[in-house]
């Protein structure tokens, strides 16, 4: 039986290879979609925790605290639980300063001797024999920094900070990973002893401005944060958790949400592709079963033989698919996100993808056998199957159900998000069901043409089931591809557009709360300066707990061009409430939110919410609603005075507005305030790193969209070829009947053209609806956006796939396979 199965496989090598490849591709597609979201999380986690590494808690300075602390960490190291067990695994103090090198900002970060690789591993690209542990003036720089400044091993780097300067020597050039994932401004890693010289000219290893703490596993991090905050030496400092995994997850989910939704469709399509592929050779198999039946094979033997064949193909396909998945997906991640992050490959997801592919193949292979067992040998020999009644009414039923679902989605706001997913699935299923009838209908119209080859094509398409499967595969595949590209365009638009609002803004950080803003407005080009608390906080209400970007300034409305759901005058009035005597019934703690929170969670003006900043919580009242894409709607406008009253947080940033050449203005400010260790940077550059990160995710989404579209297209073509392989007899018959090879080729071109056009028209028509569903479904991920639709993206993707499928007969030189003698 095994030999017979093997002979079946080897007798049709093209079909076997195509089947294996299709399974492999489907497995890879499924794996890529299952792994997309975790990979984005991994990437964002790596970049967000580049500085803090494996630590759990960071103690840092803030605008109202001392700028330096001693690095005598024994009080922290001695923290013990009630059993006298140490709660702390290690403590790493660092001293980070912004200094000027060749007129450009760099971040100099000093570690104690022997501690530089505790938080993160540093992967050296090239290094000298003596590193930073051997000499305090040695530094490690990234490859990117070496390229940017033209530095090589052994080169000296003189950094200046105010009147102080110190010379460092490059002892190693590291890969752009670990700490160097956050390399903007360029990061130089050295020893505290020598970095401290930039502070006062004196070398001391016991000074720092950040302390990173790794707690013992199982210890309560929040309790430790409270404990450390209560220590007198850190009571004025900012003590907080590092790598807020909740926030990182929110960010990763936001970025990957559109693709996750589209990915579900890709996953379904992957399974469908395998099923349809096996269905392509259904007629041939049914006929073969009939022959085995004639020679006396039992049902058990036939089932065993076909199952053996399927298991062999599915096994090879699943294994190949797994290899392909790991290789291709890892390559895409490295190419698009970062070549320097080691992405973990989940064995379970890989196993899951392989299992889905394997069982889909096995189950699909059983379907023709089941059908053959139902029919008589004669029916099987001539491959006649009675038309199912359900099929005839399935199309209108599906359209009706989908319409109902859409109606609920649009009419009932509370159900919009959930029904959007249902509608998405139903719309795709309806498309799958309706594509074949639509194609037959088109073929019927086509039949009326006087061109013989067109007529032949039209008749074939109505008779042969393989065309129905091809149009289904191409149509659904095309729609899914369009959705992926749409998701890409949407993500890019949503997550980067608002940055352009900041093009005329400059940040001055590392300032004390008492800084005088007038000194900035006296600088040429600077038109406006305001102190602001620009940091993150957590907003809690009924059904949500979101990390928000706080714009803590009474002047915040002048900084961004907001839309106003509540009248601007009303918001301004409340924003300027005097909180000098604290909050009261007359002076409520007002915050102003984006309307997204109203749409997503029903937050209304007057609602009371809980705001958490730096570990402290306070009740706040929604004073008004704004409308802006800023931070995807995750922002809070609030008075700096209120922030100070509620959380004892003073402004830590000065935001400037400038007119003219931003580079020149920024450089002018740097030169003027170089002595103050102010970090002056235009906002676009400050967000460069975030933009690069999100751009990397966009690139990943785009690349995945291209790759998946190519996979879908390739599988569709392969499936078509497999299905076509079973019809060689009928082509020979047509040639024997006097049809020329050219006319036969034209006929096949008509077939492909019609399939492609029907798919394109229906997919394009449905794409707007699917996009609306996709946008609505994103609310499940806490994302609210207005409808956006890039018609050209959809049209282009469809057109490319359509043309590609139309030219397949020419591209694969079908004509060469036409052979009149074959019978």
């Amino acid at each position: 039986m095994f030999k017979l199965a093997l002979r079946n496989i080897t007798s049709k090598p093209l079909r076997a290879v195509a089947t294996v490849l299709a399974i492999a591709v489907a497995v890879a597609m499924i794996f890529a979609m299952l792994s997309f979201s975790p990979s984005v999380y991994e990437y964002i986690y790596s970049t967000q925790t580049a500085t803090s590494g494996k630590s759990d808690i960071v103690i840092s300075t803030n605008s109202s605290s001392d700028r330096v602390i001693d690095s005598l960490t024994s009080p922290i190291e001695n923290l013990k639980d009630e059993n006298g067990e140490s709660l702390i695994e290690y403590v790493v103090p660092t001293l980070s300063l912004y200094a000027l090198f060749n007129g450009e900002y760099v971040q100099m970060r000093g570690f104690k001797r022997g501690q530089s690789e505790i938080l993160q591993n540093i992967y050296m690209n090239r290094e000298l024999e003596k590193g930073i542990d051997e000499n305090e003036s040695n530094i490690i720089i990234s490859k990117a920094a070496a390229d940017k400044f033209g530095l090589d091993l052994g080169d000296s780097v003189m950094l200046a900070l105010g009147a102080q300067n110190a010379t460092f020597y490059v002892c190693a050039i590291a890969e752009n990973s670990g700490y160097f994932l956050d390399d903007a401004p360029f990061l130089f890693i050295g020893r505290i002893e020598w970095v401290s010289r930039l502070l006062s000219g004196v070398s001391t290893k016991y000074i720092c401005n950040e302390i990173y703490i790794k707690v013992q596993s199982g210890a309560d991090v929040d309790a430790l944060v409270d404990k450390i905050s209560a220590m007198p030496q850190y009571s004025q400092m900012l003590v907080q958790r590092t790598g807020d995994s909740g926030y990182i997850k929110e960010q990763a989910d936001s970025l990957s949400a559109p693709v996750v939704l589209a990915g579900a469709a890709v996953l379904a399509l992957g399974v469908a592709v395998i099923v349809l592929l096996f269905m392509m050779s259904e007629s041939e198999k049914v006929s073969l079963i009939a022959k085995y039946g004639i020679v006396g094979a039992t049902k058990k033997q036939i089932l065993g033989m076909f199952l053996t064949e399927s298991v062999l193909l599915a096994c090879v396909g699943a294994v190949l698919g797994s290899a392909l998945a790991v290789g291709v997906f890892t390559a895409i991640l490295k190419l698009t996100l970062s070549p320097d992050i080691v992405f973990g490959i989940s064995v379970w997801r890989l196993f899951g993808a392989a299992v889905i592919g394997f069982f889909s193949a096995i189950i699909s292979s059983v379907l023709p056998i089941m059908r053959a067992f139902k029919g008589t040998i004669r029916q099987n020999q001539i491959d006649v199957k009675p038309q199912s009644k359900v099929k005839r009414i399935l199309c209108p039923i599906m359209i009706a159900i989908t319409a109902v679902s859409l109606a609920i989605e649009f009419a009932v706001p509370a159900a919009t998000a959930v029904m959007a997913v249902v509608s998405l699935v139903l719309a795709l299923a309806t498309l799958g069901v309706c594509l074949a009838p639509a194609m037959r209908l088109s073929a019927k119209t086509f039949e009326k043409l006087s061109v013989p080859s067109a007529k032949v094509a039209a008749v074939n398409m109505q008779r042969d089931g393989r065309f129905a499967r091809s149009v289904m595969m191409l149509g659904v595949g095309m729609t899914v591809s369009m959705m992926l590209f749409m998701a890409w365009a949407m993500t890019k638009s949503v997550f980067s557009d608002y940055i352009s609002n900041f093009s005329d803004m400059i940040f001055v950080t590392n300032v004390q709360a008492t800084v005088d803003t007038e000194q900035f407005t006296n600088t040429e080009g600077v038109t406006y300066a305001t102190k602001i608390v620009w940091k993150q906080g957590s907003l809690k209400g009924v059904g949500f707990d979101k990390t928000m970007n706080i714009l803590g300034s009474k002047d915040a409305l002048d900084l961004v061009d907001f839309g106003y759901v509540t009248e601007r005058e009303d918001i301004e009035k409340l924003l300027n409430t005097n909180y000098s005597n604290g909050t009261s019934d007359e002076n409520l703690p007002y915050v102003f939110l984006d309307k997204a929170l109203n749409v997503l969670y029903g937050v209304n003006v007057g609602d009371m919410l809980t705001l958490e900043m730096d570990g402290k919580t306070a009740e706040v009242v929604v004073g008004g609603m704004l409308d802006h894409k800023l931070f995807s709607g995750n922002y809070i406008v609030v008075s700096d005075e209120l922030i100070n009253k509620l959380f004892a947080i003073a402004p830590d940033t000065v935001v400037l507005k400038a007119q003219g050449d931003m580079n020149a203005i920024v450089n002018g400010l740097r030169a003027r305030f170089a002595n103050n260790n102010y970090y002056v940077v235009d906002v676009l550059t400050a967000y460069k790193w975030d933009m690069q990160s999100t751009d990397a995710v966009f690139d990943l989404v785009g690349t995945l969209a291209v790759v998946v579209a190519l996979f879908i297209f390739s599988v569709t073509v392969v499936a078509t070829m497999v299905g076509r392989g079973a019809n060689e007899k009928s082509r020979s018959a047509l040639l024997n009947a006097g049809m020329s090879k050219r006319a036969l080729l034209c006929s096949e071109l008509y077939e492909h053209g019609l399939i492609a056009l029907v798919s394109y028209v229906l997919a394009f028509a449905l794409s707007a609806l699917l996009t609306a569903c996709l946008i609505h479904a994103l609310r499940l991920f806490g994302l609210y956006f207005g409808f956006m639709y890039e018609a050209w993206v959809v049209a282009l993707v469809g057109a490319v796939m359509t043309i590609g499928y139309m030219v397949v007969p020419v591209a694969f030189n079908f004509k060469r396979g036409y052979n009149i003698k074959k019978r």
Binding site: G154, L199, S203
Partner: protein
């Protein structure tokens, strides 16, 4: 089909070969680049060190440089103060240090910076005065931005090299002198000078180059003492670069840099971190570290003392001697300094400091502030340490000083410091006055001998006498002894007289026996005198401690009065100054004031 297939396989094979070759080329490229970088680095190190060597040689004689060949030396010898013999000795040692620099772990950039600084006018001036004042090397190091690790590494490497490679330097000089002699048959003077060099270097080699056993012993001792020695060198260098002094306060309060507008608490943090360097040093000197250091210093002094042929030896020995004299007391000094540092961590004092920053105070005001801060330090330290602590320290120092006059320095210095107030009080008079009135345990002669002891040790009187005797021997060999030679010998031996050491041999009858008597017997005689004095010194200090810690102590009350005074922020008059001086003298802290502010 078959044909097509084989073509395909051939194409794939060709592609594979091309890809592999390209990969290999790409893979080889970084190695080649790395080799090129190393070669550039090697060349840069060599070039930089040659520049430094040339600057150094040039500072001795403007015609000296590393690349003079033998014929040039013979030609230049004897003209315009050019002494080929001096040159080849200097060249030998210069290149010894040069090689040390090349092979050190110093970054190439630092060697280049050193070359740059050495070539500058300031650098040249520093190097020119190096042989007279080795302390000038510190500003040079600071300008190059040498780190404490660089300095400790260099010191350690230098000691090891002196122990294991100095023989090669002597051999090199002798060989060079031999070559020049061979070529200088027509230049009798040069030939003569080279002969002297060969003889002197041969002697020096026999005397100062360690034998294999000595070398091994020294290297083992250095290895043993490496940790504490590095800690000590790094601390000294670090403190010389950035100590808690007025400069630091002026920098911090200057309103510039990352700590612009520095707060009192930030200053306190910074001072606290500097104070920790002191604690570090104490930790590094725990356990057997002091004994290890004593062992290493002792070997250096015993082996290299008197190596007159090299400034390098002399300086190393000098530093080793100073360290040897003080090392026992360092741990307690660390404790004292740590405690004293706390004085600068008081907000009221910082506010007073701030008030005076940027003002050009006259000397009287500066003294007033110095006396107030010193008084605060004394009060702080005496609050932290009990009478027993101090008495134990003094007893320990006394114990260590017995039998080795060199070790008496801390004890004598402490006593003199306490007595300086009395000496200051007697300045207008011709002599030290009635010492016993204030110090019942001391008399005028003892006080004089204490001063002599310190002067002898810090002025290197004994070494100078040995050097004078070596010069006498050379003059004898050269046949050029005159009255000046004897005069120099007598002058160098005068410090023995101040100790009352009597040499029964007459200098004129047998000069060698006279000098060697001193060399062989004077240490023993000095030890006897110093041992006898140390008992009195100990009692004197004990008396002071007892007095200070006594109930209703007048001295302590005076110091407290001074300590409670605010710093002056404007210049003061002479009469006001006298008040501060009077309190300082009565509080017996004048010696301390001068010790704390000796670096200013």
């Amino acid at each position: 089909m078959k044909n097509k297939f084989s073509k395909l396989i051939s194409a794939i094979l060709v592609l594979l070969v091309v890809t592999l070759s390209a990969s290999m080329l790409l893979a080889c490229n970084p190695t080649k680049k790395e080799e090129e970088r190393r070669e550039r680095d090697r060349r840069a190190r060599l070039d930089s060190v040659v520049i430094v060597e040339n600057v150094f040689l040039n500072s001795v004689n403007d015609k000296w440089s590393v690349d003079l060949d033998n014929s040039q030396l013979i030609e230049l010898d004897g003209k315009d103060n050019f002494d080929a013999a001096d040159y080849i000795v200097a060249l030998g040692w210069t290149q010894f240090v040069g090689d040390l620099l090349i092979n050190s772990s110093l970054q190439t950039g630092k060697l280049q910076a050193l070359a740059e600084v050495a070539q500058s006018e300031d650098g040249k001036a520093l190097i020119e005065n190096f042989s007279e004042n080795a302390e000038l090397i510190l500003p040079l190091f600071k300008r190059v931005d040498f780190t404490p690790t660089d300095i400790s590494g260099l010191v350690y490497d230098l000691l090891c090299a002196l122990a294991s490679e100095s023989g090669q330097v002597f051999d090199g000089i002798i060989a060079k002198a031999g070559e020049i002699s061979a070529q200088a048959r027509n230049s009798p003077a040069t030939y003569q000078r080279m002969s002297v060099v060969i003889a002197e270097m041969g002697d020096a080699k026999n005397k100062f180059v360690p034998t294999t056993a000595e070398r091994d012993e020294m290297l083992a001792a250095f290895e043993e003492a490496k940790g504490p020695m590095n800690a000590l060198v790094e601390f000294v260098y670090n403190m010389s670069v950035g100590a808690i002094d007025e400069d630091l306060f002026e920098t911090l309060l200057g309103g510039d840099g990352a700590l612009a507008g520095i707060s009192n608490s930030e200053i306190i943090t910074l001072i606290g971190t500097l104070r920790e360097n002191v604690a570090d040093l104490k930790n590094a000197l725990a356990g057997d570290a002091v004994a290890d250091l004593n062992g290493a210093f002792d070997l250096i002094i015993n082996k290299f003392d008197g190596a007159a042929s090299s400034v390098l030896y002399a300086q190393i020995v000098q530093y080793a001697k100073t360290a040897y004299m003080l090392v026992d007391a360092i741990p307690f000094m660390c404790d004292l300094a740590y405690s004293a540092g706390e004085v600068f961590m008081q907000e009221t004092l910082l506010d007073q400091f701030k008030a005076g920053v940027g003002k050009d105070l006259n000397e009287y005001a500066q003294f007033a502030n110095a006396s107030i801060i010193t008084a605060k330090i004394v009060m702080k330290v005496t609050e932290t340490f009990s009478k027993d602590d101090f008495e134990k320290l003094i007893a320990d120092l006394y114990e260590q000083s017995m039998g080795d006059y060199r070790k008496s320095v801390p004890l004598v210095a402490v006593d003199l410091m306490l007595n300086l107030s009395h000496i200051i009080g007697q300045l207008d008079k011709d002599d030290l006055g009635d010492v016993s009135a204030v110090h019942p345990n001391l008399d005028r002669d003892t006080l004089g001998q204490l001063i002599n002891t310190l002067m002898m040790l810090f002025d290197n009187s004994f070494e100078k006498f040995k050097a004078a005797y070596d010069a006498y021997l050379i003059d004898i060999a050269d046949g050029r002894v005159d009255d000046g030679t004897y005069g120099a010998l007598r002058s160098a031996a005068s410090f023995f007289n101040s100790f009352g050491i009597e040499n029964k041999i007459d200098i004129n009858s047998d000069t060698k026996a006279w000098a060697e008597w001193y060399i062989n017997n004077a240490p023993r005689e000095i030890n006897k005198i110093v041992d006898a004095n140390n008992g009195k010194v100990k009692d004197d200090i004990f008396a002071f401690i007892g007095d200070f810690y006594a109930e209703n102590s007048e001295v302590k009350a005076t110091v407290a009065q001074l300590a409670n005074m605010p710093l002056v922020s404007d210049s003061i008059s002479e009469s006001e100054y006298k008040q501060y001086m009077s309190l300082s003298v009565n509080g017996r802290i004048v010696g301390l004031i001068s010790l704390i502010y000796s670096g200013k």
